[in-house]
Structure formats: C-alpha cells, structure tokens
Symmetry: C2
Subunit: 596 residues, 2 copies
C-alpha cells in the first residue's frame, strides 16, 4: 500500500476516449483507413489556469497508459514508470499535469489488432492495417485536443516512446514547448532490425499463430516468448547481465547434464517470456516492432537536419553509455543534427551499467536531468551565475579549470552575438553572457555533473569530447568560439584549434604562459620542471600535457595563417593587461584570433 | 576449379576411423558411456620424418572435417577455412601435416545424435548422452593416436574450436608443443548463454521436434532456423552489419506495409536460416551449444591460473576488436592467467570490423600471425636482432622511440634473469637479451604491427596498454622491468612507475632530461618550449606529455621511498656516462631503481 502514500499518485484509473468515429476513419500513413479508434489513457496532477503545465509521456514497446500509482488497492505492482512520476519525483505531479495513453496498435485499451473489426465482428488480427510512429502520434494529438490541451510543456519518452517524442516535435512544432527523447534513435540499426525480424519470425512460424486469428484457440505463446526473450537480452547490457546472473546455476552446484534450464540467466528468460505472454498480444508485438523498424527520419525527410528544420521545441536528449540497442552514437547523431539546424538542444550520455533498460532503472540521475530541464523550460529566461549561489556551490568548477579570465573574456564579446563555449564547465560564463549581453550561447562539456549544472541553468549544453572535433557545425556558424584554459590539456592542439577556427568567426583562446619568468628561473636555477601558481601541479600529475609560451603561440598562429586580433597578457588575478615584456611577465594570456 | 589450383590443397576426401568399439565404450564427463564412436577426418600435407610437423585444426559450431580444398570436382564451395589452409597460406600445407576431424556430437560423419543407437537401431535423438568439450578432445586424441601422431606442433581453432585448443593444452601437456586459441573464451558470458538458451528453446518448442525423434517426419526447421538467425546476429558486429546491410530494402524503394521480409538484413537472415536447416541437424545444435555453455575452466579448476598450471605449450591468443560474442576482454583474461602462471604466451587483439566471424574473414593479418608463430615454434631458439635485417627494416621502430640506450641497458642485465620489457617495440632488445644472456624475457607492446614483429622473432609478447596496470603479475615476478623512453609519454607516470616497482625486483627507467642546458637556454633566452635533438617535436605534436629532469626524478624517487641503485646520465649517442653536472649536460638518463 506504499504506492498510495505521499510519494505516489495513489489510486488511479485508466479512462477511455473515442477519438475517431467509424464513419470518419483516420487515414493512416500506409494509405489505409481505420475507425473507430478508442484511446486508453491516464492523467495525474492538475492542469493549471494558464494551461502551460501539461506533459505527455509516450510509452515503449511493452508499456501502457498506466504510468504511475496503482489501479486498485490490491495491485501489487505500480505503473511502469512509478519511480519517475509522482509528487516530488523527476516528473513532479505537484507541478505538472501528466498524461499518458496506450498507443495505437497496442493491446492495453487503445484500438489495436485485438480490437473488434467492425467489418467482421471478429478481432482484426492481421487484417489490422500496418501503423507507424506518425500514426500513433496523430492519435495522441487527437486525444490531447479532446482533453482541451492547448500546448504541451513537454513530451517525454524512452525507446519507442522517444521516437514518438521526436515525431511530436516535428509534426506539431507549435504545440510542443520541449521534447525529452531518452534512449532512442531516429532509425533502427541493421542489428536492431535483425533482432526484431527474428522475434517476428518466431511468432509468425508458431504453429498456433493461425494467420493471426488465434483468439479462439491456443495463442502463439512459444513464438511470443522467444521474441520477448530476444528482446530482454537486448535491453540489458553484457556487464549488467554478468553482474546480475554471471554463470550462476539456478539450484544446483553441478551441471544436470540435460536440456532443462539450469543457468540463472536461462530461468530469468523463461520467466520473462512466460509472464509476457500472459499480458501481451502477439499481433500487437508484430505491429509495434514493424512500426519501430519503419521509423526513419533520414529516409522520410532526406536528412536529419531537414527533419528537424521546422521544430520549435527545446530538446533534451539522453542516452545511456551501456545501451547497445539504441546506442549513444545514435543519440549523438540526432543531437548533431539538431545543433547543426541551430535548435536548442542539450545532451548527456549517462554513465550506467543497465543497458537500454537504464531509462527505467536510473530514476535518480535521470530524474535530476528531467526535473532540471522541465523547471528551466517552465520558468522564463536565464539569470546571472552569481544569483544562483546554491548551484554554484553544488557544482563547483574543478580548481584546474578555475578561470580568472572570465570577466575579461565577457568584455570581449559583442551583445546579441552567437557563442560556443568549449569546456564550459558549470555554465557560469555562458549564463552571464546570456543574461548581460543577450548572447545566444551553447556549451560543450565532458563531465556529467557539469552538464547537469548547465541544464539546470537552462543552457543548451552538449556532452562531447572536443578531441573528436565539431563535424556537425557548419563553417563560421558562431560569432565567437571560446576555449578557455583548455588548449594545453588536449591531445592534439593543432587539430582542435583548426576546428575551432573553422566553425567560429572569431576564436578566443586562453592558456597559461610557460615562459613566465618564474618558469624560466626554476628550470634555469633549479633544473626542475616549473611549478607556479598558474602551473600548480607536479610534473607527473598535471592535466597540462603541452607547454607553450606566448611566443610559441605567436609562431603557431603565423604558421597556420591565423590572424591575431587581440593579445591580452595577464597576471593571475589582475584584469589589467601586462604591457612590458609580456612573454616574461604574463602568467596567462588571452588571444582573439580568426581565420578567413 | 580454382580450388584445385596451386594455392589449394585440391581434391580431398573425408575419411572415417572407428576410435571406440561398442564393447569398450568411452566414459564421458557426465559419467555416461558411449560406443561405438566413429570419427570423420581429413588430412593435408605430409608428416615429416621427424614427425614434428603435425597440426590439428579444431572446428567451430557449424564446421566439419572439411577444412580446405574440394571434396569433388563439382564442389562449388571449398572447405570452411580454405582461405587459411593450403600451400603457402597461413597454415602452410607445404610445411605442415594438417589434420581436422568433425567433433563428437556433430552431424558431419562423426558419431552424434543423428547416429544409430545400437540399443534401439534408431537414431539417438535425445538419448544421445550430453557431451563436453573435454569429451570432444578425448576423441580427437584417440584419432591422433590411431594416425600414429606422436605429438602436435600446434592445435589451432577459433570460437568453440578455440575451447578445444585450450582443453588440448591442459589435458595433454606433453603432446602439444603450441596452442593457438582464436576468438575464444574460457567460459561463456551470461549473455552468450542467454543467446544459446533462446536458440535451444526455439528448437525444443518447435512442434515438429517430437522429443528429438523427428527423423521419420518433418524436421524442426523453424526452431533451428530461428536459432541460426540469432547466432548469425551474434557472429557479426553492429558496425559490420551497418556496412553490409544498413537499412537497405531488398527490392523496393518504399515500404511494403506488410510482414514480409523487406529489409536486406531480413532476407540475409532468412537465407542463413534456410541454408542451415538443409545441412545441419537440430539435435546436434542442442548438444554442441550445451557443451559450449558447460565449458568453464575457472569452475573446473578453481581458477584460470590453476587450469593452465600444468600446460607446457607455447600459446598464441588472438581476439578481434569488434567481437562481442567472445570478447577481447575474455581473451585478455586467459592471457593474464597464462602470464601469471609464467607460461609463454603471446596475444594480439586484431583490429577488424567483422565481429566474431573475423576469424574466418581476416585471412591476411591472421595468417601472418599464424605463419609467424608456427615458424618460430618449429625452428629452434631466438637469434640476435641484427641478424634479422629484413625484419628490422620491415618493422622499423617509430623514431620517437628509437633507443640509443639499448646497449647500455643490455649491459645492466645479469645473465639468466627474467625480464619484462614495457613498450618493447619490435622486440630488438628482448631478442638480444635472449640470444646473448639467456634471459627469459617477455614484452608488452601496444601497436599491432610491432606485436607481429615480436611474434615473428619467437618472443612472448602481449598487446597491452601499460596505463591499465599489470594486475595479472604477482609482486616481484621479474628480476628486471624495463621502461625505456616511455615514462614521459604515459598519462599517469606515478601509477605506472609504482606498478613496475611492484612486479619487478629492479626497474630500469630511461627518459629525456628536460633540464639539459639547451632546454634551459631556449626557455630562458627564446621564451619558447624547448626543442632539442632528444625532444625533437614541437610543443603541440610531441608524444611527450610530461616533462621531467634528473632532479625531478630524484625527488620523485625520494618521495616514493624508491632506492636508486644506479643513475647513468648520457649524451644522445655516447655510451659514456656524463660525470660533471649531469642535470645540466645529460640529454637522457637511465636509472636502476627498486622498492623492497
């Protein structure tokens, strides 16, 4: 009964709504028509007076409308995302009005192949038309209209639910203020199609399948069970399976020397297969996996960039490092396309061992991202960093990256310009530039907790390793690119610098000056690797892996044909440039450079 | 007919040999008895007079005795490893006498579940006893004895064939001079067991399976086909599938909106499933995958180190970077155990996009490793590097690692000692130490072509990234550990150095001296990052990521409580130590250190 307590949405019921009448059928993407269409849905929380707090959750393959709470006091299991949705949770039902519906083609209340075909008065079976993700979303939009929703603060979903999220943002740009796509992809890989195909083969070849009209006889449980087992292997990661099962035997010390299931992982799969056939319809499995296989934004729009061209949502894209079904690389591709199309997008690849299932199993970190992003989307504007003292304290910059050059860099940037801040940390500089100079800023950062800090500030922040380049950005797509105190820490400074010069009209670079007099003196008189306030680590534990002076960088720019517009040698804590013998007296330096 | 040409073993025939009579049955690992046992086998090449050139090849799940050449002039497809076995190929039939037999439980001539059960005069079906990898190897040994083989120059196999290789080396240590284990594992992961279990489930649940007695009626083709499809997905890599199929449609531009196979990857799997059921027996599939699931050297011997304790073979272990079925990490674990048990072992993780199937699809690079290793095993001893001029020229050391300190380091090593050379390059130093001082040497190297060069020299060489530590080696397991011109290039010098001090009684370290007078002068007078003969790269393209002087290293050793036994400051090309003001005049330095 904990599920009706204060952290739960409590006792909820699944409602049903007819969104399409039989005499006015919906035209599907395939060209076929379908009607009537009923939709099963649940809602939690309250729509506020402004009507701006509605959130739609889209479920994945085996989900349904029942996201959170319990449907009856006797329910042993709460809704499928109860960990994430409820009062004070990642998707906070105290703040937001949450809707979820079973999608078209499902088997949990919404019209699907198990529904009665009005032509035959029997279940549709394989006479149900092939449906697509776009068809599912169309039906969800009809439901939203019927519920009197004028716009959605966010559409949120993982896996196939994430595909619906992307489709929503593309199909209804003015309706969707933000889109949160979790562990998803813009198209299935060949490998994922292959797994789906084997699962469908197992169902279609089951001798009980009876061409889909198995409702009066035995169900194709064997085929559906096999499909589900294959699915489950792909939802977990290899390391997750190893940790959970290893090579444990179910109940014995030694082998049984027969073909019964004896490894723990075998009995787990048996159980998953068995429990699934009790609650799911084999035909729905066919239709939903086919819809997933068909989803392909590149194919439909010519390119991902074109697919996202008309969207107006803020995007948050989340992947999980160990997800090998819908991989981080696939998420990264959609993020790159969104960034290239100049859309506001944030991205984080969350470290987790749970594979694809992590979107259900990582409520804490995922919840932080969701609540931070939703709050920032719901509140207006971005404020100066200094006003967020708690945040600053919580996400303190690592000392090696502490930047006395922030104020000076800010003074170099013209109002209303576009800025890309590489290694932006907790987003302090970007927030200030946004608040004070109305800059349109984007950040790139590698550390997960700093990415989260930026999301909380409402910034567009992409988790990325700058060593991999910026292939997604067009030439000269930013007025300024900032690389503060980072050049000396990258493996290939030349490659990185050239890439920044390509995408930025101006590149602002700062680094510690290795030819400062203290360095020279230490090497000369002590015969040791220099250690100063600015270069404060020992030779063996420094993050700095290249050492350069102002003169080195001058030579470097000359060789690369880079124009130095400004060169500002600085002491460690003073904003006043050093005029006399800068390569001797400056501890650090800021360059404004460009290459035409 | 190319297959009977000069690069082919030509027309070959599969022979059969009874190795166990019915009245003297073989006792299996399960305790059950089996007899008679017939073995199907092929041989190529000639056993030499010394009888020391016999090689046994062990096949994988779907293989058979027919490795190379053709069985009839009409054969369209040659044997399963024709690319590797033949005159002048990786396994050269001009030099070696090659044997391969279909394994116990198979369905290509050797006794298996399809054979006639003498008790019932019907095929065994599920009355066939469960067999293990050890049982398979026992039967192979009986065949070798019957063929008059006194010892094997090598046992070679990939995948399940590799398991047999490991079992051979453990069960018959005096019979096996070398063991080449390719893309294999000492135990299946939970994920691999899961895939096998789903495949067996599909077969067992097929309505045609009839408890295994399907020989008079329809075969369980659906189940076997599903199993094979799952298998094929695991044999390819995600990137391999993407390159081969992508999301290509078989024959249309647009979707068919039905459940027929339409993606190219679907029709590929259909074909693989279909062609497999025509040539393979479903019961054999059950028995072989079960044998693979049961194989677990850790479980059987308590630990891998114990499993390998009594082996006397030289080992070559090969994995493929994109193999996610039997992973590089699994190969690495067996290599670590062999190294820990002080066995001669070489290892390379070959860069390939072809996944598990790479062992069949990378004949060139894999063939180089095999031929080099076999030749070195067949010829006696290791000779000085200078005598292998062709090799030296072919595998030239990268200039950044060229070592003028080799001769001096060689002079510091006592005869008959044990040496671990970290970053050993093409093995020049190790070869010389072995030839001149009878040192028992091992090398660690990261670059594939340098690993191959060491294998060709007959050295024990493990591909490994030193940053990951040396956890497999016990404390003080070498008389000397050598780290030549590498300390300044590793990310965490302290961690690496401490690890070397743990495993070596003495650690010999050499590095360029950053406080050489030229460096001091350049920084002082030019205000630029030093660039000398020894530090010959620019600040931005140097592999050196830490800069240290003799004094820095003295301080470092003092802080770590490391005793410096010898310190030899050197000029770039002179072997005579620099006595006066070494931190000012030495370009490089060699330390002999230890920590008790």
């Amino acid at each position: 009964m904990a599920e009706t307590g204060k952290n739960s949405v409590g006792l909820v019921k699944t409602d049903k709504m007819r969104v399409i009448e039989q005499d006015k059928p919906l035209e599907l993407e395939s060209g076929k028509k379908l009607g009537p269409i009923d939709v099963a849905y649940e809602t939690y929380g309250k729509l506020n007076e402004a009507g701006d707090n509605a959130i739609l959750i889209c479920h994945a393959l085996s989900g349904n409308a029942h996201v959170a709470g319990v449907n009856s006091p006797e329910d042993k299991k709460p809704g499928w995302w109860n960990v994430m949705v409820g009062p004070g949770k990642g998707i906070d039902t105290n703040k937001y009005f949450v809707i979820c519906s079973n999608f078209l083609g499902g088997c949990s209340g919404t019209t699907g192949p198990r529904s009665v075909n009005p032509q035959t008065q029997k279940p549709y079976g394989l006479d149900f038309p092939i449906i697509t993700i776009a068809d599912m979303v169309k039906v969800q939009k009809l439901l939203a209209d019927k519920l009197g929703i004028k716009n959605l603060l966010s559409v949120i979903g993982g896996s196939i639910g994430g595909m619906q999220v992307l489709q929503w943002a593309i199909a209804y740009p003015d309706f969707v203020k933000s889109a949160i796509a979790i562990a998803t992809t813009t198209h299935l890989s060949a490998q994922s199609i292959a797994f789906d195909a084997v699962g469908r083969n197992a169902i279609l070849a089951d001798s009980n399948f009876a061409g889909g009209q198995y409702h009066t006889g035995k169900s194709p449980d064997m085929g559906l069970g096999i499909a589900r087992m294959i699915g489950h292997i792909t939802y977990l990661s290899e390391q997750g399976m190893r940790a959970k099962f290893g090579r444990e035997l179910r109940s014995a010390e030694s082998y049984s020397y027969d073909f019964n299931s004896e490894f723990a992982v075998e009995t787990y799969l048996d159980y998953q297969g068995q429990s699934f056939v009790e609650r799911f319809d084999a035909n729905s499995y066919l239709y939903i996996t086919k819809a997933a296989d068909y989803f392909d934004l590149e194919k439909e729009y010519g390119s991902l960039e074109k697919a996202f061209a008309e969207t107006k949502s803020r995007f948050l894209v989340i992947s999980f490092a160990s997800d090998w079904l819908f991989t981080p690389a696939q998420s990264k591709a959609m993020v790159d396309a969104l960034a290239a199309a100049n859309k506001p997008v944030s991205y984080c690849d969350i470290a987790s061992p749970y594979g694809h299932d992590a979107f259900l199993l990582e409520p804490e970190i995922l919840g932080s991202f969701l609540s931070g992003f939703l709050d920032a989307t719901h509140r207006p504007g971005i404020t100066r960093a200094t006003k967020h003292k708690t945040q600053k304290a919580k996400y303190k910059m690592p000392s090696s990256r502490a930047r006395v050059d922030y104020e000076l860099i800010e003074s170099l940037i013209k109002p209303n310009s576009t800025v890309l801040d590489i290694g932006c940390g907790n987003g302090e500089l970007l927030a200030n530039l946004t608040a004070d100079k109305n800059v349109k800023g984007r950040g790139i950062e590698f550390q997960q907790e700093l990415v989260l800090a930026c999301v909380n500030r409402g910034l567009s922040i992409i988790q990325h390793d700058i060593e991999l380049g910026l292939a997604n950005y067009a030439n000269k797509s930013f007025d300024y690119v900032i690389l503060s105190q980072t050049l000396q820490t990258v493996k290939e400074p030349k490659k990185v610098f050239k890439e920044l010069l390509r995408v930025g009209k101006k590149v602002i670079v700062s680094f510690p000056n290795f030819a400062h007099w203290q360095c020279r003196a230490q090497l000369l008189f002590l015969g040791k690797a220099p250690q100063t306030k600015q270069l404060h680590c020992k030779w063996h534990n420094s993050q700095n892996i290249h050492f350069l002076s102002i003169k080195d960088f001058d030579d470097f720019c000359a060789k690369l044909g880079v124009k130095v517009e400004e060169k500002i040698p600085l002491g460690k804590a003073r904003l006043k440039p050093i005029r006399f013998a800068p390569n001797f007296f400056a501890e650090q330096v800021i360059y404004v450079t460009r290459k035409d």
